[in-house]
């Protein structure tokens, strides 16, 4: 990479060659990643692609089988203790104590991080999260959205410098997701670095940079514009009758690299511009309208997945 000359002070996460093997399978395979301080890094990939495993290696919960790196300038192999003090990790499932109230959970976290006045710190967090009215409710009785709010609140309570969020908005309604992302951006403005895994494209689009992982391998990383541009896809939006049958046919057509239904339309794309234009010309008829359009981020990911799926066979 050419940006090795960049001063290291800017880089919050800097890992290279990370590999984790479970039962003989490379779950994370030679992964290298750099995240700038104050940036929001989206981390995408299908189920089982190794997102959680990667995040766990970053915060010292798993030891990499190969590779090394630093989080906040601290070695992920030898300085886990120190990393834990400055990294907030929000697990994929709810992992606070369900039989403790919101306040008790926050006080627990404040004490564990050695804050001077844990009760006051918990109270401040309650107010900041708008959870004061529910302070004495058991955490296990909260709805999904409030659980997520609480989990984030617990993560940022000790003022970490790096947040690792593993699918923080899974199962949360759109309004709560929006509020959540506003909060994330607010924190990033304060200088917090955030790495967040997600399956939602609209969330990916709110990140400064994204990384896409598939079968443990990092396929893409960079800004959204770069990602889309580098994919060099020519895409069409197809509308009309009998799209299902058309999709099945297009899947076998040479020059077509991805076909995906989006609502009442079909996204069709290919890396070979001329081949793709030929396909469009061939299939455009009275029943179907073909319109060339800019590829979306999702088009790019679907094309990546399709390509890997095909080459794997």
């Amino acid at each position: 990479m050419s940006d090795l000359v960049r001063p290291a002070t800017d880089i919050a996460i800097d890992v290279s060659g990370l590999t984790k093997i479970f039962a003989g399978k490379k779950v994370v395979d030679n992964l290298s990643l750099r995240v700038k301080r104050g940036h929001i890094q989206g981390f995408l990939g299908p189920n089982g692609s190794g997102k959680t495993t990667t995040i766990r290696m970053l915060c010292g919960l798993l030891t990499p089988d190969a590779g090394e790196g630093r989080c906040l300038g601290l070695d992920i192999r030898t300085q886990q203790e120190e990393i834990k003090r400055h990294v907030g990790y929000m697990t994929q499932g709810f992992s606070l104590y369900r039989d403790l109230t919101i306040r008790e959970n926050l006080e627990f976290v404040a004490r564990i991080y050695g804050l001077v006045a844990p009760e006051d710190a918990a109270q401040a967090a309650l107010e900041r999260l708008g959870l004061t009215a529910r302070a004495d409710q058991l955490a296990g009785e909260l709805s999904g959205g409030w659980k997520q709010r609480l989990a984030l609140g617990a993560c940022i309570l000790p003022a970490p410098s790096l947040l690792l969020l593993d699918e923080p908005t899974a199962g949360v309604d759109p309004k709560a997701r929006r509020d959540f992302w506003d909060e994330i951006h607010h924190l990033a403005n304060e200088g917090l670095t955030v790495l967040v895994s997600t399956h939602y494209m609209d969330e990916a689009e709110r990140c400064h940079e994204i990384a896409y992982i598939l079968d443990g391998k990092l396929l893409v990383s960079g800004t959204i514009e770069d990602t889309i541009r580098n994919a060099r896809l020519t895409t069409y939006v197809v509308k009309g009758e009998g799209l299902d049958a058309l999709a099945a046919e297009l899947n076998r057509a040479p020059g077509v690299d991805m076909v995906a239904p989006f609502g009442a339309a079909l996204h069709v794309g290919g890396r070979d511009r001329q081949a793709m234009e030929a396909v469009a010309a061939r299939y455009a008829d009275r029943a179907h309208r073909w319109m060339q359009d800019e590829p979306t981020l999702e088009d790019v990911f679907i094309e990546l997945m399709t390509r890997n799926h095909r080459s794997g066979q």
Partner: protein, 397 residues
């Protein structure tokens, strides 16, 4: 640019005030303690069992050992129908221990009664008893006891000799009074059939304190680590800057309080319901019992770090509990066991605690007498805790 300054740059400037290193460690321990305590408080069934389990066990055992059963079926084999003999039988009856169901003549009939469980005692007054007594020949008075259940007969036997002496005191008046002065003018022989050893009844209640505490304490901590793993809270806990020692101590301490409550419950019931005296000092008994409680909590916690899930943890506690019952001297006399079993027994905290609790409660022993056993408990605790801290997995690998 050196590493530290790089780090400071990447980390945020606004940092909340934190305590010093040692104070932080202490506070993390407090955090674990408070958390565990709240969780325990919210767990109603478990809370009820803190007092419930020892109480129920003690009461159930208490009736099995029923310290002093009375009105035991008795046969009197009278071969000497003198007023003195009749007075003796009357005196035995008056103790309330003996319910004379049969007065028989032949020895065979008496044997048959005891064999068929019709009676638990046969009191034999030999022929010429009163005449030989008057002559000062110290005739023997024989009590045959069915000692298959020694605890059931011990009280009665103890009461018998006293009753007989009193009866003779009353009967031997006038010129015969001198006989009564050389105590006792007869020879009371007790044949404990079927179980000549006859264990002391008071061994059992102190022993129960030990077994009950072993069982409850082991279970409490054996579940503590596996529970966090199964509920998914371990991942978040491990991602926080808390050390294995702090987690362990924070999880053990609340249950020392629980153990203290159980100890108090048992001691109160033992004293007021079963009337087992505490000869020694509570200042010896209570601290050493707390040490025993900590030893078991450490053991349970160690099992918890080895077990993969809660079911395994429970199975392991039974694996530890069973030999504790069998090899500690609770069920069988310790020095009656083969040597290899004694060696195993020495490795169990219950063995040492039984010695402590029996000595303190029955003999009034002090710290000086019990140093070796107290030391063994402390060593056991230390080893168990060290193993637990080493076994504790700080990562999810």
């Amino acid at each position: 640019m050196n590493e530290a300054s790089v780090r400071r740059d990447i980390q945020r400037d606004i940092q909340p005030a934190r305590r010093g290193a040692l104070a932080q460690s202490w506070q993390r321990l407090v955090a674990m303690f408070v958390k565990e305590f709240i969780q325990l408080r919210r767990d109603r069934p478990t809370l009820g069992m803190i007092v419930g389990i020892p109480l129920i066990q003690l009461l159930l055992f208490g009736y099995a050992i029923n310290t002093d059963p009375k009105h035991l079926p008795t046969a009197v084999l009278v071969s000497d129908d003198s007023p003195l003999a009749r007075a003796l039988v009357g005196a035995l009856r008056a103790t309330d221990y003996f319910h004379v169901k049969y007065v028989v003549q032949g020895e065979q009939r008496a044997d048959q009664l005891i064999r068929s469980n019709e009676v638990q005692f046969v009191i034999q007054i030999p022929p010429d008893f009163s005449r030989r007594l008057v002559r000062g020949e110290r005739p023997s008075l024989l009590i045959v006891a069915d000692a298959t259940d020694p605890t059931a007969t011990a009280g009665a036997i103890a009461a018998a000799s006293g009753a007989v002496i009193q009866a003779l005191d009353r009967e031997l008046t006038g010129a015969l009074a001198t006989l009564a002065q050389n105590s006792p003018p007869f020879d009371l022989q007790v044949h404990r059939r079927y179980n000549p050893a006859g264990e002391a009844r008071r061994n059992i209640v102190p022993g129960l304190i030990g077994t009950i505490l072993t069982m409850t304490m082991l279970i409490y901590t054996a579940l503590s680590v596996t529970r966090e793993i199964e509920r998914g809270t371990m991942e978040a806990l491990l991602a926080m800057p808390v050390k294995p020692v702090e987690i362990m101590l924070g999880k053990i301490t609340p249950y020392v309080v629980v153990g203290g409550v159980q100890m108090a419950t048992i001691l109160i019931v033992a004293t007021f319901l079963f009337r087992v005296p505490i000869v020694g000092s509570l200042f010896v008994l209570v601290p050493l019992t707390l040490l025993f409680i900590v030893a078991n909590l450490s053991m349970g916690y160690t099992l918890s770090t080895v077990a993969a899930n809660q079911l395994q943890a429970i199975q392991m506690t039974f694996f530890f509990f069973l030999p504790s019952m069998l090899l500690s001297g609770f069920l069988f006399p310790f020095y009656g066991m083969p040597v290899w079993a004694q060696y195993l027994g020495e490795g169990l905290p219950l063995t040492h605690y039984l010695r402590i609790v029996r000595s303190v409660m029955l003999k009034g022993s002090g710290y000086g007498d019990l140093a070796a056993d107290a030391g063994a408990l402390a060593l056991f605790t230390l080893v168990a805790m060290s193993v637990a801290v080493m076994r504790f997995r700080q990562t999810l690998d």
